[in-house]
């Protein structure tokens, strides 16, 4: 969902955006069912538009509900990351010089 904040994108375009951030295994193959689920849950909006010289593509962008869900997910991720970082800092302090 975060890569959609860069702008509407079709399936393969999102795969490429994820790959550019080192998340290739997230995008490959699983992106289509994931987008289908987001669409079914009303978290993305879609429109069909012509791509650069290619056939019309289905572009996905975040809906207002999707933006709220993204914000909630981001907060939860930061909390989880801070907790893990705190635990790892303890380990570093114990084994450090």
């Amino acid at each position: 969902m975060a890569v959609m904040t860069e702008g509407p994108a079709y399936g393969y375009e999102m795969t490429k955006r994820l790959r550019a951030r080192g998340l290739s295994t997230v995008g490959e193959g699983s992106i289509y069912p994931l987008l289908g689920r987001l669409e079914r849950d009303g978290l993305v909006e879609t429109r069909r538009a012509a791509s650069n010289g290619g056939p019309p593509r289905k572009y996905y962008s975040l809906s207002p509900a999707g933006e709220r869900a993204l914000e909630t997910g981001r907060r939860e991720w930061q909390l989880a990351r801070d907790a893990v970082d705190g635990a790892l800092d303890l380990v570093k302090a114990e084994v450090g010089p």
Binding site: Y10, G11, Y12, T15, S24, T25, G27, E28, G29, S30, Y32, P33, L34, L35, G36, R37, E39, R40, S51, G54, P55, P56, R57, K58
Partner: protein, 193 residues
């Protein structure tokens, strides 16, 4: 059209996905694969490991879009279905115990007969007879009733335990311990794990 897309299309038809939605998914997938190929890539760049399992990929996409029902969970096993396994197992064990008893009784009688013979001819008064040894089998020849009973019990025991294992295997949902026999349909054909 790409072979992978063809296979997806067949799977959507089989799952009863409405044509307009199947057409849309087909168009999106075809366009993405063509774009990857035009950039020098392959379908695997778009689909990852899913490129080797079109049916599974097509099914999960259709389920995610809510246009087909998710696969039904395995039917819960009726709690009464383990009774046949237990019943046949007990029957087999009882039969084998009866067989063992028949062999032991036959061996004991043979031992007693052998001691009598040795006493008569002046030989040692102690002789060790192992059940199932030729002496016991010879003894069975003199007691055909016990021999027939032993053979019947042996057959009954083997049949009972065999049927118990069969029912137990079915009751366990096709699993042998922690292992499970499943069939996958991939591009390379069906295989077992």
């Amino acid at each position: 059209m790409n072979e992978f897309v063809d296979e997806c299309r067949r799977e959507w038809r089989r799952l009863g996905v409405p044509d307009p939605i199947a057409n849309e998914m087909t168009a999106d997938l075809t366009a993405d694969i063509e774009e990857a190929e035009s950039e020098g890539g392959t379908a695997e760049d778009v689909l990852g490991n899913s490129a080797f399992d079109p049916r599974r990929f097509a099914g999960s996409w259709a389920v995610a879009r809510g246009v087909t029902a998710p696969p039904a969970p395995p039917t819960p096993t009726s709690p009464t279905r383990w009774w046949p396994a237990l019943a046949f197992g007990l029957m087999g064990c009882a039969a084998l115990l009866a067989l063992a008893a028949a062999v032991l009784v036959g061996g004991h009688q043979t031992s007693a007969s052998a001691v009598s013979v040795r006493r008569f001819v002046g030989g040692p008064t102690s002789i060790h007879v192992v059940p199932g040894s030729p002496i016991v089998l010879q003894h069975f020849q003199h007691f055909p009733g016990i021999a027939l009973f032993a053979v019947l019990m042996l057959l009954l025991g083997i049949a009972g335990i065999g049927i118990a294992v069969f029912y137990g295997f079915r009751w366990n949902g096709g699993r042998i311990g922690p292992w499970e026999i499943r069939r996958h349909h991939g591009r390379s054909g069906a295989h077992w794990t």
